[in-house]
Subunit: 343 residues, 2 copies
Amino acid sequence: MSSTYGDQMTTIKDVAKVANVSTATVSRVLNNSDKVRSATRERVNTVIQELNFIPNAAAVGLQRKKTKTVGLIFPDASAYCFAEIIQGINRHLSQNDHQILISSAHDEAEEIKIINGFVRGGRIDGLIMMMPSANGNNGFRIPLAYKIPEVFISCEINAPRSTTILLDNYNAATEMMEHLSKLGHKRIAFIHGGEHNYDAHERYRGYMDGMKAYPTDGELNLVVMGNFTESSGFQATLELMKRNPRPTAIFAANDAMAIGAIEAARALKLRVPADLAIVGFDDISSAAYMDPALTTVHVPLRRLGHLAAEAMLKNLKTNPADRTTEKIIIPLQHIIRRSCGSE
Amino acid sequence: MSSTYGDQMTTIKDVAKVANVSTATVSRVLNNSDKVRSATRERVNTVIQELNFIPNAAAVGLQRKKTKTVGLIFPDASAYCFAEIIQGINRHLSQNDHQILISSAHDEAEEIKIINGFVRGGRIDGLIMMMPSANGNNGFRIPLAYKIPEVFISCEINAPRSTTILLDNYNAATEMMEHLSKLGHKRIAFIHGGEHNYDAHERYRGYMDGMKAYPTDGELNLVVMGNFTESSGFQATLELMKRNPRPTAIFAANDAMAIGAIEAARALKLRVPADLAIVGFDDISSAAYMDPALTTVHVPLRRLGHLAAEAMLKNLKTNPADRTTEKIIIPLQHIIRRSCGSE
DNA sequence: CTGAAAGCGCTTACAG
DNA sequence: CTGAAAGCGCTTACAG
């Protein structure tokens, strides 16, 4: 039991001295080199245990040019979902002896600055980016010429040799439209989550194509812009219900806005689903406890995180030249509850 | 504009060569030493810009024995609140040129292992721990003899020279009890969040003392154990409503359980608040959009994170011998809405 | 199988 | 004000 924490770091030299070997040998047992006599190995390992020795990460990193840490960039927006994704990433990464360096950014300039610092400062071996707002036409371009593995979550950057992990938002949304259509709805409104948000945009695309595919009332524009908050869902619904003719169903791009929509319906004395069907997206934990229980699309956030970590680890192990460009699309499942009006 | 990212890291040597000075001089301008002629400084800075040079963190860390990174340990439980706290910490820390290395743990053994790795591996300069489950009697003891600054969130470890940041759960809970009592309730039930959870326990203490301080119906035990999830709040409420006499109000230790309780009341055809008042704790974003809108206690999570980061930065700057033991208690504010029945 | 030595990219007394 | 040199704690050819 070592007891002098803090004051003086124990180094490989201390171990070497006590075990009566050279630092090279200690390093070899540390790195499981096969060229160490097993008696020596045992002796050294005992001393390592006794001294509670852990190699200095900076020294190892300086030599190996590997930090065993992965950078994680996520948006400043405080969405509940990031916590879950991070948990999923962390679990898998830490089981595989990798650390996570996180940072959040609220705009592109900050993002680039952070990434640059991480990469050029040699702080990370790979980068996982959650940037739902890096969607298409807003011109987001991070410097992608780094030679480290990149995993993108919820954005289509299409960087060569990178892995992109996407939710199958589009198909889930069209299926939701089909469901609503089968229930007889012809005037289905959509509350958007933000033009530059990838997930919101894909859900919107699915909505639009659903509107074309299924019988609808003419050329009504029933799309209102929200921002993923309950309050924006509330406001959007108030606005939509002023339309003439009114929509008979609302598809909110996430559950928080759907919850705001339900509250707005109540404020307007409309019964959900009898007067107005409302559906969401995400399946947050409270969705089943709303009144009425919310019909939505389940998003497996931990699994998303796990897949990102898995992809990262795999790329970390493969030679840069052998890395492929991959796109992983996670199929999504409906959760039919009461708010849509099916029984 | 450098364009050879990745392949070859630019080092201080490259800068020195181009600027026609020694590496020592480059290092001096990097560290804002005053003993550099301003002409030299400018020339070097220009080259640094041109080469987009950022010092290798491992090399700097190895020399300085400072990593400019703070470790952040949080529980595996996927609570929404951690995301907010992390945002608060990150914002302040990154503005002050510090990184965050995160990891989550699901038990004490794992926690100790992670911390040990961080500290002895020299990966961090300070440690912020969110461990609401490290409450009192479950014997949690991490090795605290490290000489690095420690900030604890929502747990009372009382480590010397550490900073502890706590919510004023107790007083907020007694005030909530007073509020309920003033509304005429004498049989107030409590849904606990977990015996070993610090916040839950303090809220429970406030509840208990409130039950003593205000007129109540005899010696009824109206406490049921939950686990902070909607479903546990739902179950607890079902159980409580079998009691005879029934409680007239339920105080849930968090909003998620209060939401579950509201749903349970609906299932039992009880009107909230007319038949049963329900209040929560946290003020999550959807609390205002429940039916009825949830009376609760607002918890300023970002501010909590900000305070933790602030304390960390302060301790990082002060000599270990001059560090004091501090406890910061954040006062909490009620949000009276409709679910408690006050109008 | 093991050790002496060089070197990873920085910083910092020490001289000048 | 500036540079040459040592050293932070490791790893890894190179010899033996």
